[in-house]
Every structure is written in C-alpha cells, then in structure tokens.
C-alpha cells in the first residue's frame, strides 16, 4: 500500500495502471481459490465415477449373500457385512453411554479445577492419536491381557475407545446448547441435579447427541487400520455367532481385494466400496437431517 501514497503526487495514468494491476491480482486469486476447490470436487467426482464404472456387473444379489472366495465370481461380502454389524452393535453399546455420561459429568457436574482440566486435555490429545496406535492398544490390552482373543468384542472395545472423544465432544456441545433457564426452572421446582439432567437437559440435548453418535459410527465403520492391527481376519468363510468369534469387516474385505493382483478383485473392491459409501452417505444424511431439525427447535 506504500505504492499508493507515492503515486498520489504523480500523474494519473500511473495510478490507474497500478489500480488495474491490483484488481487483476485479486481476480487471479479468486481463480486460484476456485481451482483449489475444483481439485477437491473433481477428485470426488472422478473417484465416484471410477468405482461405479469398475463395479458394474458385480453388485448382484450373489455379492451380498456369498462369503469371500478365491474365485472372484463367487466372492461376496456376507461375512464382512455381518462382521461390521456385530462390531458396530457392541461398539455403540459401549461408546454411547460412556461418552454421554462423560459429557454430562464435564458439562453439568465437574468443577473448574485441575482434574477437569486434565481430563479435557486428555480427551483433546486422544482425538489426535493415530488410529493404528489404538489398534496396538487393543492388541495388547483387549486381545492379550484380557484374553478376548482376536474377536468381535476386542474389535468393538478398541473401536469404542477410538470414537469416544468424538462422542464426548459432540455430546458436550449438545448439552451446552440447552438454555440455562431450563435448568433453573427445574431447580426452582425442587428437582435435584440428576432429576434436572435426566428430565430436562438430556431430552433437549438428545438430537445433538444422536447426530454426534451417528457421525462417530460413520467414522468407525470406515476404519480399517486398528482392526487389522488387533488381527481381524482377512478371509472369513463363516458368520461370527458369538462375541468372542473371529470376524472381518467391510473395509478389511475391501483392503483384502485391493491387495490382490488380479483386476477382477479390484472390481470386487470397487463394488465393496460402493456398499461402504452408500452406508456412510445414508448415515450422514440422517445426521444432517437431525441437525436441521435441531436448528428449527429453538
């Protein structure tokens, strides 16, 4: 901008030329920004187009009802689908209550002291730990020390710890959004702390908590590395029937197929990716719907 003050005394054309150049720079910058956005958008579109083209012909009924196989035309995702379902059931069963309870404690009960601070710093740090490190934790603690084996339950426990920070942060935000007047009215009528939380805070915070839980579930469904580390199988020709049975999940099945050399298996992987993405998009849509409803509430 120092140029401007210099140009003030000069003849007009120089000033105009400089102004033009400054405008051009601004336009150029917008173009750069749009190009950057375009890189993301184009990548997403190419990725989607590619998996759709690659998977054509593979997404039939047989694909959903068959186990994995050495022969691509006989291979399917039955074991992976059921494995993902089982694992997610136990994961959410563990993570949602613990996460919501932690959030209630931190928002409604905890005093502003070093202990609370310490827990908060801990949660923030846990959110930044690479997922594969959670896998090592699960391998050592759940698989080995607690002797769960490389089972559905061990996978669920590992995954629950992984998504706990997400659920806690989302639940805390939902609780914080409940107006304080709601609590005060409840206290004024003689309700205790827990009665207030149970009957007034939680119902209002529920949609926000649900949104957080669904997004956390979407994250867990797509996670691969920690489950490979705890030793979930890559080839499972059976359905897990017990929480201590061995299992596989959809992303591991996809990883397995991508790792094979034949291009038929890559096409199978693309078909698996379509299923995975459809599930994730469905979950995210529900989360967005809930978020919208929450917005109109107050």
């Amino acid at each position: 901008m120092s140029e401007d003050t210099q140009t003030v005394g000069r003849s007009e054309p120089i000033f105009k030329a400089s102004m033009q150049w400054r405008r051009i720079k601004a336009h150029f910058f917008v173009v750069l920004g749009l190009l950057s956005v375009l890189l993301g958008v184009v990548t997403l579109l190419v990725l989607l187009a590619d998996v759709i083209i690659q998977s054509t012909g593979w997404l039939d009924w047989q694909f959903f009802t068959s186990f994995d196989s050495r022969f691509p035309e006989r291979a399917g995702i039955k074991a992976a689908l059921f494995g993902t379902l089982y694992m997610m059931f136990f994961t959410m069963l563990l993570a949602v209550p613990i996460g919501v309870m932690s959030a209630i404690y931190l928002e409604e009960y905890a005093g502003d002291n070093w202990f609370t601070q310490f827990i908060q710093v801990n949660i923030a740090n846990l959110a930044g730990v690479p997922s594969i490190v959670y896998g090592l934790l699960g391998l050592q603690v759940f698989v080995r020390w607690m002797e769960m084996g490389r089972s559905v339950l061990a996978g669920s426990c590992t995954m629950a710890l992984l998504i706990l920070p997400i659920i806690i942060v989302a639940s805390r935000e939902a609780i914080r959004a409940v107006p304080p007047s709601m609590r005060e009215a409840s206290f004024a009528l003689g309700a205790s702390k827990w009665e207030t939380v149970r009957h007034h805070v939680l119902p209002y915070a529920l949609p926000g908590m649900l949104t957080g839980a669904i997004l956390a579930a979407a994250r867990a469904i797509g996670e691969t590395a920690p489950l490979i580390t705890i030793g979930a199988l890559t080839f499972v020709p059976f359905l897990p029937e017990h929480p201590l049975d061995r299992f596989t999940v959809l992303p591991i099945q996809i990883f397995n197929w991508v790792s094979r050399a034949q291009s038929e298996f890559h096409e199978l992987a693309a078909a698996g990716i379509i299923v995975l993405l459809v599930v994730l998009i469905a979950l995210n849509s529900v989360a967005i719907y809930l978020r919208q409803r929450l917005r109109t509430k107050y």
């Binding site: 950057s36 993301g40 896998g135 490979i228 995210n284």
Partner: protein
C-alpha cells in the same frame, strides 16, 4: 419425586427424612458414576502408554537403542535381522512431505477463498463437498491411489513403479485438504472484522486485505493447522499400506516402493505373529516412535496457537 407436599406438614416427617437421605445418596452415587466414566479418558491414555512402553522395553532388551536409531537397514522379518528404523522414518517423512505439498497450498487457498471472497451461497455448496471428502474412508483413498492415480501418473513419469510414494502422497494430500481448509478457516474467522474494515477503509483490495492483513493476523492458527495436518499424514495408514508398498528402502526417491512406519505395523499384523516374539515387539517399538512423533506435533500445534496468537482488545 413422589414427595408429600401437603400444605399442612410444616416439618419433615421421619419418612421424609429417610426419603431425602436416600435421594441424596442416589445423587452422590450418580455423581461418582459419571465421574468414573469421565476418568476413562485418562485410563485410555495410560493404557496406550503402558501397552506401548511395556513391549518397547522388552524390544530394547534384545536390540540396542543405538542400533535402532542409527542403522539404515530395517529387515526384522528376514533371516539376517537389522533394526535400523531410518528407512521407515524417511519413507514416512517423504509421503507426508508430498501430502503436505498438496494439502497446505490448496487447503489454505480454499480457506481464504471461502472466508474472504466466496458468496454465502457458494460457501453452502462447497462446505458439504469438503465434508464428504473428509468422510471418505482411507481404504477407499488407497484403492483410488493404487488403481487410478498410479496408472495415470505412469503415463507421465517414466520409471514410476506400481507401488510408490508419489501417488500415495498426492492422494493423502487430497484427503487432508478438508482438514487444513477447515482449521485455517477457523483461524481466519477469528480475525476481527474491524481489521478488515480498517484496511478496506484505506483503499486496499480484497487480495491485499486477504494476504497482508488477514493471513498475517491468523498465521499462528494457520501454522498450527499445518502441523496438525503433518501429524495426520504421519499417522495415516491405509493409503500407504495399499499404494506405497512394503519395501523398507532407505531412499527419498518418490517413484519406488517404500514402507512407512504405519505400513510396517499393518504388514506384521497381517501375518500370524506369535505374542512375545521379537517381530511382535517391533510393531510396538515402531508404534511408540509413531506415538511420540504425532504426540509432539499435536502438543506443539496447541502450544503454538496459544503462544503466538494475536490478541485483540
């Protein structure tokens, strides 16, 4: 809650007293139960530390820490075992560097564009796209890198192998763009509007406001977002396991197969490694290294924001 609130009973009856006592007991019990669940985050951190440390200590009883940190060959799965972690570290650094070279400029440009230039309606279209991009599972990005990006790059780059750091790094960069964009946008959004208006009032163009006022004011947050992106890139697993190979080579050539720290952990996990074997312990030693690196970066990012934040009013 079914307490008797009859207007004639001014004094609490014995029944009421015991009810109140039981109610207080219940309240306290719930309080401690909630507190216990909140403490689980501390237990998790301790669990990570103990499970990593324990096996790592056993590992360093058999392998000297000096060899681990100075040797440049990593062959724990061969008959002649060498335990120099450098090939894994350079591979991780190489892929992360390529990823950041893609993610930081584009992510930052998107953040500036969204907060300083884009109209609200454009923002409402772009932000969900970025969210979708951030929600795609990493195994899908790995598939993308191996089956689509690598063959395309092979057309232009002679000598590019099927497994290479370049393609994995580029795709990882695209994966990290939303993270850089959203963190940088938060930092830029925290810059007070008055600063922008002051600059506009002096006759600055949007470009000048963005580059000479907003970005310098938000620099601490932008640097922090870059460091967090680096931490994310270092810990990323599936893209490199699928597309970058499983050859621990001590090289910075982005065209050849390599093996990152995370990919090594995956490689060993896929085999049936017995507990308490040396191979089993190597993944904890590598995991400890990974944990220390990412932890240091996360702490640094948070410290940096706090230390160098521009304070206004």
């Amino acid at each position: 809650m079914a307490e008797d609130v009859s207007p004639f009973s001014h004094y609490p009856s014995r029944n009421d007293m015991s009810k109140r006592a039981s109610r207080n007991f219940k309240e306290e019990a719930i309080r401690y139960a909630l507190m216990a669940t909140a403490t689980l985050s501390i237990v998790t951190t301790l669990g990570i530390l103990f499970s990593l440390m324990g096996e790592t200590l056993f590992f360093f009883r058999e392998v000297s820490i000096f060899e681990f940190l100075t040797e440049t060959e990593w062959t724990p799965l061969f008959s002649i075992k060498k335990f120099g972690i450098w090939p894994l570290v350079t591979a991780t650094a190489l892929v992360a560097f390529i990823a950041l070279a893609v993610a930081i400029p584009t992510g930052l440009l998107i953040a500036i564009y969204l907060s300083e230039f884009a109209r609200p309606r454009v923002r409402d279209v772009i932000k969900p796209v970025l969210e979708v991009l951030a929600g795609v599972p990493t195994v899908v990005y790995g598939y993308f890198a191996l089956t689509l990006v690598t063959p395309i790059l092979q057309e232009f780059i002679p000598g590019l192998r099927i497994f290479n750091a370049l393609s994995a790094g580029i795709v990882m960069g695209v994966m990290i763009i939303p993270m850089v964009a959203s963190l940088s946008e938060d930092a830029i959004g925290a810059v007070p509007q008055a600063l922008r208006e002051g600059a506009y009032g002096l006759g600055a163009t949007r470009f000048e406001v963005a580059t000479q006022v907003v970005v310098p004011a938000a620099l601490s947050g932008i640097v922090a977002s870059a460091v967090l992106a680096l931490s994310r890139a270092v810990g990323e697993t599936m893209i490199v396991s699928i597309a970058a190979g499983q050859n621990p080579t001590f090289t910075l050539d982005p065209r050849v197969p390599i093996e990152t720290m995370t990919a090594y952990i995956v490689q060993v996990s896929l085999g049936d490694t017995p507990f308490a074997s040396l191979e089993y312990r190597t993944i904890f030693a590598v995991g400890t290294m990974l944990f220390i690196l990412t932890f240091a970066m996360n702490i640094f990012a948070h410290w940096f924001v706090r230390r160098f934040r521009e304070e206004y009013d």
